[in-house]
Amino acid sequence: MNLPRMAWRNVFRNARRSAVTISAMTVALAALLVLSGLIRGLYLGMERDLVELELGDVQVHAPGYRNRPSIYERLEAPDSIIAPLEAAGFRVSSRLRGSGLAAGAKESAGAQLIGLDPARDATVSDIGTKVAEGRWLEVSDARGVVIGRKLAKSLHVGVGDTLLLLSTAADGSMANELYTVRGVLGPVGDGLDRSAVFLVQQTLRELLELPEGVHQLIVRRPPTVPLLDAKAAVVAAAPGQDVNTWKELMPTVAQLLQSTEGSMMLMFLVVYLAVGIVVLNAMLMAVFERIREFGVLKAVGVKPRTVVALVFLEGAAQTAIAVGLGLLLAVPALLYLSTTGIDVGSMSAASLGGATFSQHWVAVLDRQTFTGPIGALAFVVSVAIGYPALKAARLDPLEAIHHR
């Protein structure tokens, strides 16, 4: 007795019932595959933006700087940290940071001043590509600054306008200078949107009267190095300094992203509950219709476990067909959504735990996009088939043979 062949034929025994069951599975699977790709795309996009635009993989600060940022808490010899890391394939950029007041013609607001080397910073961050109006910093344009979009809005300044920056210099004197807005950023992150003023590092160094040292190193790891290994390498290169991964710097967002898989699995199970009921009903009908047949099989020596295997194989055959059809429906949609994507211009203003949603929402098309929905479907179908299969296996052959 070839069990898979028997199971396959049984699937087509009541073609209409099997069609309904397979259709329910197919539609649910296709919908969840597309949803899985989109949600993973949303969250992975957030993670990518956080790492590539703002935080990097790992950051280095002087001890105590993060708890109480001060221009005096600096990494005094950044080159001694950067050199061994770059030799190991890491990319590193230093930033000088300060706080102060930014003022336009009529309005003023608190600002975080960020000084960077545009060329070196481009190796660790894509922030320079997120200029919505105007252009990014250029070393040759020492007085040019780029500001966050919400800051620009609150100060009523735009490209070409003059911006006054006020701060306290390292020597305690009042630091103030006029600059020209060269660019306004698009949405990158709530904190930066509201208060960031990017300057060429040397310009900020002069404003704050800081002859040496930096406040922050942003480190990007080689693609093959896991995050925690990267942190260990940075700790080794920067002994005694405060080294943190991006997940430690933004724990709320990291936890949110980490819980994505679990939340999606819960969503799959809820949607599949309806499918499970359809499958349970169909398989129970299939078993009840064949009580006498199961009785005969058991009478001639088929063991209960073989009966269970037969019912499970019938469910597996239907699931396999549904998976094939579901993929046929979902993959073209996912291909479209992973390349063309969805423009969510208005939604991109929203932020979650300090991270903003990308303006261009694209689906992710990788192994995990498929394993979650397909795995959850297989699990739900297995649970739904369990009862009918056991029912068939426990039939008393004598009673079953005489069943009418």
């Binding site: 007795m1 034929r9 005969v296 001639v300 020596g301 043979i401």
Partner: protein, 233 residues
């Protein structure tokens, strides 16, 4: 009956009671009998006489309330469910009144079911099953499904299925009840021929006089008791 051979089936003082609502029905009352290799025996009697109950006990499909049932040397009361399954698979062939073929399997596949369960390789199965199908007169019909065959043809497939695993005994419960008289005659001829030529041991339960007339040994039952056990000419 033989004095020297060991019986294939041996029932000793077997009783079987069933609960029917609040009352207890005594289906078998102290039945003892032996079936020997090569016999063609008929259990006859009116409805409710206990012949089907006896057949079910011998077929390891049921357990006695008291007494002993031995089949092919095995005391059935001592066997587990799995061992009973194996005994049915390896040593007992069944022919049911309603044929009871698996509708999605072809004649060939239905006939080979038991051999496949035994793990016999495909080549050996094919040789045996094709031979049996030819023997029961179904040559050329092996690819037909039950719904493409007549009742008589389906019962022939059932006989081939029962014989495929070379059982010690074939139990046939009212094998001619669902077919016309011409087909019944042909089926009886076939089973008689198999008994004569292959020494297949048959035990029928029936109240069909045509079957009773073909029996070498006729056991008559009334109200759960054997009232007559005779060898016919």
């Amino acid at each position: 009956m033989s004095d020297s051979a060991q019986p294939i089936v041996s029932l000793r003082d077997v009783t079987r009671t069933y609960a029917q609502g609040k009352t207890e029905v005594l289906a078998l009352r102290g039945v003892s009998l032996e079936i020997f290799p090569g016999e063609l025996t008929v259990l006859s009697g009116p409805s409710g006489s206990g012949k089907t109950t006896a057949l079910n006990l011998i077929g390891a499909l049921d357990r006695p309330t008291s007494g002993s049932v031995r089949v092919d040397g095995h005391e059935l009361a001592t066997l587990s469910r799995g061992e009973l399954s194996e005994l049915r698979r390896d040593r007992i062939g069944f022919v049911f009144q309603a044929y009871n073929l698996v509708p999605i399997l072809t004649a060939y596949e239905n006939a080979e079911v038991v051999m496949a369960l035994q793990g016999i390789d495909a080549k050996a199965r094919r040789a045996r099953v094709m031979g049996l199908l030819a023997q029961v007169g179904l040559e050329g019909l092996e690819d037909r499904r039950p719904d493409e065959m007549s009742g008589g043809q389906q019962q022939r497939v059932a006989i081939a299925r029962a014989l495929a695993a070379k059982p010690a005994i074939v139990l046939a419960d009212e094998p001619t009840a669902n077919v016309d008289s011409e087909t019944a005659e042909a089926l009886l001829n076939l089973m008689e021929q198999l008994n004569r030529e292959l020494k297949v041991t048959f035990l029928f339960s029936t109240h069909d006089p045509r079957v009773m007339a073909r029996a070498r040994r006729l056991i008559r039952m009334v109200d759960g008791r054997i009232v007559e056990d005779k060898v016919q000419g």
